[in-house]
Symmetry: C2
Subunit: 124 residues, 2 copies
Amino acid sequence: MQLPNPFDKACPTRQLLDRIGDQWTVLIVLTLAEGPMRFTEIGKRVDGISQKMLTQTLRSLVRDGMLKRTAYAVIPPRVDYELTGLGRELVVPLSVLEKWATTHMGQVQEARDVFDQGQAPVNA
Amino acid sequence: MQLPNPFDKACPTRQLLDRIGDQWTVLIVLTLAEGPMRFTEIGKRVDGISQKMLTQTLRSLVRDGMLKRTAYAVIPPRVDYELTGLGRELVVPLSVLEKWATTHMGQVQEARDVFDQGQAPVNA
DNA sequence: GTGTGTTACTATCTAATGGAGAGTAAGGAG
DNA sequence: CTCCTTACTCTCCATTAGATAGTAACACAC
C-alpha cells in the first residue's frame, strides 16, 4: 500500500484536500460551526452561493461523513444539516484559514498595488 | 469602513480566502515550502497541473505578494520562484489542512462506503 | 549553416464546471 | 380553486480549466 500523498493526482487524499479547500465547503462548514441549520438558512448566510452548488456541496459533505442530514416529513419540507464529529474537527483548521485571510488582507492589497504599479507604465 | 467578512461575496477577504483555499495554490505553496524552485520543477512536483494553471496561479501568487519571481536572462530561460515572508506564513495553516486530509482519509472512506451502501439498494 | 534541444511561457480549441432562472411536489391557509 | 412555502431538480448559457501546439532565443553537434 502506498503512502498517502496529495501531490499525486491519483491519490484519494488529493481529492479530499481539494474538497476541504473548496470555497463553498469552507464557508458552509464554518457556518454550521454555529449549530444545526436548515437548507435555506445556510444559503442566506453563504452569500452568493447558488442552489445548485449548495445542494451539491451539502450532498458530498454528507457522503464524506462531515455533515448529518435530517429530513422531517412535513409540508413544506424541512431539512436540517449539522456537523458530525468528523466535520467538527475541520472547524479549527478552516477558521485558521479564514482568520489568515482577514488579518493579512491589508498586506495582500499593498502587494497588489505595488505589482499593478509596476505593470501599468508599459505604455508610458 | 466595513468589517472584513468572507461570508459576504463582495468582501475582498472572500476572494482571498478562495485563492488561498484553491487546490493549486495549496499544492504550490506547500511545494515551495521546501525552498526556491524553477517553473518546470514545480510543475513536476504538483502532479496533474497544466502549464496554463501553473502560469496563472504563480502569477497571482506573485501579485498577491506571496511569491517572489526571479528571472535570469539566460538561454534557455531560467525563472525561480520562492515564498516571501507573507507566503511563508501560509505554510503552517495549509500543511495543517494537508495533514488533516491524510490522517482522516480513512474515516472519510468509511463514511462514503456506508453512504453508497445506503444508496445502492434502491432497486433491490 | 542547418538541425536539435532546452525552458518558460502563449494561443487556440474543446471539455467540464458553475450560475441564473424556471419548474416541481405536496399540502395548508385564504 | 389559488397561492404560499421549502428543498430541491432541470435546462440553458457563461466562465473556467485542460490538452495540444506553437514560440523565442541561443548553444551545441554535425
